[in-house]
Symmetry: C2
């Protein structure tokens, strides 16, 4: 049994799906995905396992919902930054990148057992992960499109540029890579952001 | 016992260290790092395990030599490209990047058991891996420095730019990431290379 209060306990009446996902995330964070059982999650919520299975057909399905919630939270954070239309696109893009980096650090470096959850999701539910990654990429693309429209960035395909930016910052955001903070021959996040902004501002090669 | 001939068998007299490393790499590639024992390697070479231990104190030490050999081969390949001074730096850099990508695919995607060897090296011998990564980065930096000297690229710190390029192409070269070839929202290698060259050509932001 975990000691801290269920984060959704105060938000009654939370629907059972939300409560199950919140409890599962807490278990995955503290004891790890492998050791967590559906029975553990049910017990923490005062439910029967059969009741949990009414909402999720498997631990894998619960994990997909956990991943969806985590990515949904990140998406909301970076959407809020992207929507600050009064600010230059370059500033918003830099903020989006730093937000993604800090979020990865707080989720995965500060809670090493979350690695198991992510490895399970990447192995068992790769297409679900891909879907979420694409949604984050779409937010990056909207900021780049804004920058092109404002004349801050050179005209280019914003989707393609977003794919390049997203892939380039993988080292700073990927759940598995972000924890290797001691990497030699690594740029700082500021250096990388400045480099990527230079590419976006650059005229296309003749 | 592996069926194919030891790659060094024809090159006599190979020194015992080289033969041990070549045999170990073959085992790691075909049956995986975990299942390979020092006794397997010794037997394949007609040596006693004690003789292997005269040259390497542990399987970990053998693996470090295997990693060193693989990176040394890659380093030689990209050094040869970097040294083609008559060619534009941009072309050489693009060739270096595509060489690193293809090499990763042929080592890790085409031989999935090599993952174990790399995971062991990254866990047990991270500082050795880092050292090798830095040597690859140094080759990238020399090409960028050439491009700056020739006026192809904007003046900047070539080491810092090389760190950014190296980190940005991680998705295409990292032993673990390169095998996820089905990734959505991924640029092609050509798109990424064009994007990075744009950054290198760009004037520094005012």
């Amino acid at each position: 049994m975990l000691t801290d209060a269920c984060p959704t306990a105060s938000r009654t009446p939370a629907d059972p799906r939300t409560r199950i996902v919140a409890a599962a995330e807490r278990f995955f964070r503290e004891i790890g995905y492998q050791k967590t059982t559906v029975a553990d999650i049910a017990r923490a919520l005062g439910m029967s396992p059969a009741n949990v299975y009414r909402f999720f057909e498997s631990k894998k399905a619960i994990n997909e919902a956990v991943v969806g919630t985590l990515i949904g939270e990140l998406e909301a954070m970076i959407h809020a930054i992207a929507d600050e239309r009064a600010r230059p696109a370059a500033d918003r893009l830099a903020d989006v990148i730093v937000t993604m980096h800090r979020r990865s650090l707080s989720l995965f470096r500060d809670h090493p057992r979350m690695q198991e959850m992510i490895e399970a999701a990447m192995t068992e539910s790769w297409s679900v992960c891909q879907h979420h990654i694409a949604r984050i990429g779409a937010v990056i693309a909207t900021v780049i499109a804004d920058g092109i429209a404002a004349g801050e960035f050179a005209p280019t395909d914003p989707e393609r540029a977003a794919r390049c930016v997203h892939a380039a910052i993988l080292r700073f955001c990927h759940p598995v890579l972000v924890i290797k903070a001691d990497a030699a021959f690594m740029p700082t996040l500021d250096e990388m952001t400045a480099f990527l902004l230079a590419a976006l501002r650059a005229k296309a090669p003749e």
